[in-house]
């Protein structure tokens, strides 16, 4: 197997509030190979976001060990190896599209990793050239999300964590962005971990689909996707795809 991007060994996360302690993740074991595309699927509240946030060093696990590119998540973050796309694009409304994309180059020591594309190239990649000087409020939801993706890629991260980035979009836009994302992935070689609620999105994008069960959040099944690469939307009509989606649905119903 290729080198490892992320490995989790017995990772648990517990939150303590007035209402008691919630076990969001319970002893997760997981290995994500470098350059792979993993999708995370599971019922609401099963800990998908929490797992991404542990990898991104936004929260520390209550137990177990997480390694990102062989080091701690925090060292990976400091080396700017991690890009994160939130469910809400989280653009800064006072900055233009271009200035939003270049933000990662201005703060926290600010340099891009070797091989990173320029902001201009990234805007072209996500189909937003010509919009550099627009403000976020002038863009549609899908365009904002594409700006957020360009911003996450500008430092040339080796691990891209995406938390339901297309959740709020209509099917057609979502399909197009899915194809664009696969193109970005194949042209950058970035490792992607992608959270979604959509069975079809999970099956279409991932090389592997990780199913999480809720309360407590546990690994239910790791399903390999055998559809050939490069993917195209037509593949969703094949019997293979239908069988895979059916399988995912059946497992999900028991989570």
């Amino acid at each position: 197997m290729a080198e490892t991007a992320v490995s989790c060994e017995g990772v648990s996360v517990r939150f303590t509030t007035e209402r008691g302690t919630v076990t969001a993740l319970d002893r997760i074991d997981l290995t994500i190979p470098r350059g792979s595309f993993l999708t995370l699927l599971g019922p609401s509240g099963c800990g998908k976001s929490t797992l991404l946030r542990v990898m991104a060093d936004l929260i520390a696990p209550s137990g177990g060990r997480v390694a990102v590119f062989g080091g701690t998540p925090s060292s990976a973050r400091l080396k700017r190896e991690i890009g994160f796309v939130f469910q809400d694009p989280a653009l800064l409304p006072w900055r233009t599209v271009l200035d939003n994309v270049t933000l990662p180059l201005e703060v926290g020591g600010g340099k891009a990793l070797p091989g990173a594309r320029t902001p201009q190239q990234l805007l072209e990649l996500v189909g937003l050239n010509g919009w550099e000087t627009a403000y976020p409020h002038e863009l549609s939801g899908g365009m904002r999300q594409r700006v957020a993706i360009a911003r996450a890629l500008v430092s040339g991260p080796r691990l891209l964590l995406m938390d339901e980035p297309f959740g709020a979009l209509d099917e057609i836009t979502r399909d197009r962005l899915n194809e664009e994302l696969l193109q970005v992935w194949s042209s950058t070689g970035t490792t992607i971990v992608f959270v979604t609620h959509s069975i079809y999105e999970a099956a279409f994008l991932g090389q592997q689909v990780l199913l999480l069960a809720a309360r407590p959040g546990r690994v239910r099944e790791l399903v390999p996707v055998t559809l050939p690469m490069p993917r195209h939307l037509g593949q969703r009509e094949t019997p293979e795809f239908t069988a895979l989606a059916g399988h995912l649905r059946r497992v999900l119903e028991t989570c």
Binding site: D57, L58, R77, L78, A90, L92, P104, G130, W131
Partner: protein, 272 residues
């Protein structure tokens, strides 16, 4: 993507025409209202036969504005200086204190109740205290104007610096941003709309503060002229003085709004 900008000359012309129409409407409607009010005022003076020392006619006020323009302006100057300086000092202090509050919550917890207490003393009560402390020159008037501006700006600015969307903070953490970078690139721009709301209030209240300050021991300024005209039953002069004060206050407000519009293009643009 080029097709997103496809030339639609007709649509653009309609858009511009509508914008022109709205702009003129916005300018003309208040003028119509003011003219109507002046007319109603002038008519009621005649209708109810109101004596000039009780309330003057608009014509009499206009005559004073014209004949005694020099005196009015000579009295506006100190008031303008006091309110502008007070505005600058009071707001600057509020911004600095808000920054400290956000930087160390403990300071806010200790000091905010004190600020509330000082704020709850009426201006007319603060003014004599400040005259005793600072003497009879411009200083106590500047101080009253500054104090009156301070509180609304402090509250708004603290809120603006603090009410940052959590995703934006998480984004900055992923980018390993330093505290100072979070402050300058997230908190400060986030606070600007709040700050300008407060500054627009302060533009009017600073003038009120300076005038109230002048009521306590002063021989010049809009405040002093108001007292003088009242004691002499010179109601046309009283009204003319008030008009001058209000016009100055409105201009002050207008300048702040203009600066706001230029600095917050990203914010005001989508409200219109």
């Amino acid at each position: 993507m080029a097709d997103a900008f496809a030339a639609d000359a007709e649509g653009e012309a309609r858009f511009r025409q509508r914008r022109r129409y709205l702009a003129w409407r916005r300018r003309l409607l208040p003028i119509v209202a003011v003219v109507a009010l002046l007319y109603a005022w002038s008519e009621s003076i005649e209708l109810f036969d109101i004596k000039p020392f009780i309330a003057p006619s608009p014509q009499a006020v206009a005559a004073v504005l014209y004949d005694r323009f020099g005196i009015l302006m000579a009295n506006l100057l100190p008031t303008a200086i006091e309110s502008i300086l007070g505005f600058a000092l009071g707001n600057l202090a509020a911004v600095v204190v808000a920054t400290v509050f956000v930087w160390r919550k403990t300071v806010e917890e200790a000091m905010f109740p004190v600020a509330v207490m000082i704020n709850s003393i009426p201006v007319v009560a603060k003014a004599p205290i400040l005259v005793l402390l600072l003497g009879n020159g411009m200083e106590p008037k500047i101080a009253v104007a500054a104090i009156i501006c301070f509180f609304p700006t402090l509250v708004n600015m603290t809120r603006g610096l603090r009410d940052v969307r959590p995703e934006q903070l998480e984004l900055m953490r992923i980018l390993s941003a330093r505290q100072s970078e979070v402050f300058l690139r997230i908190r400060v721009p986030n606070a600007l709309p709040y700050l300008f709301s407060a500054l627009k209030i302060a533009a009017s209240t600073a003038v009120i503060g300076a005038i109230v300050g002048e009521w306590i021991g002063s021989t010049q300024g809009i405040g002093a002229l108001i007292l003088q005209a009242t004691f002499n039953f010179d109601s046309p002069l009283l009204y003319a003085t008030i008009v001058v004060g209000s016009v100055f206050s409105a201009l002050f407000f207008g300048v702040i709004s203009l600066v706001e519009r230029r600095m917050l293009r990203w914010h005001t643009a989508h409200k219109e």
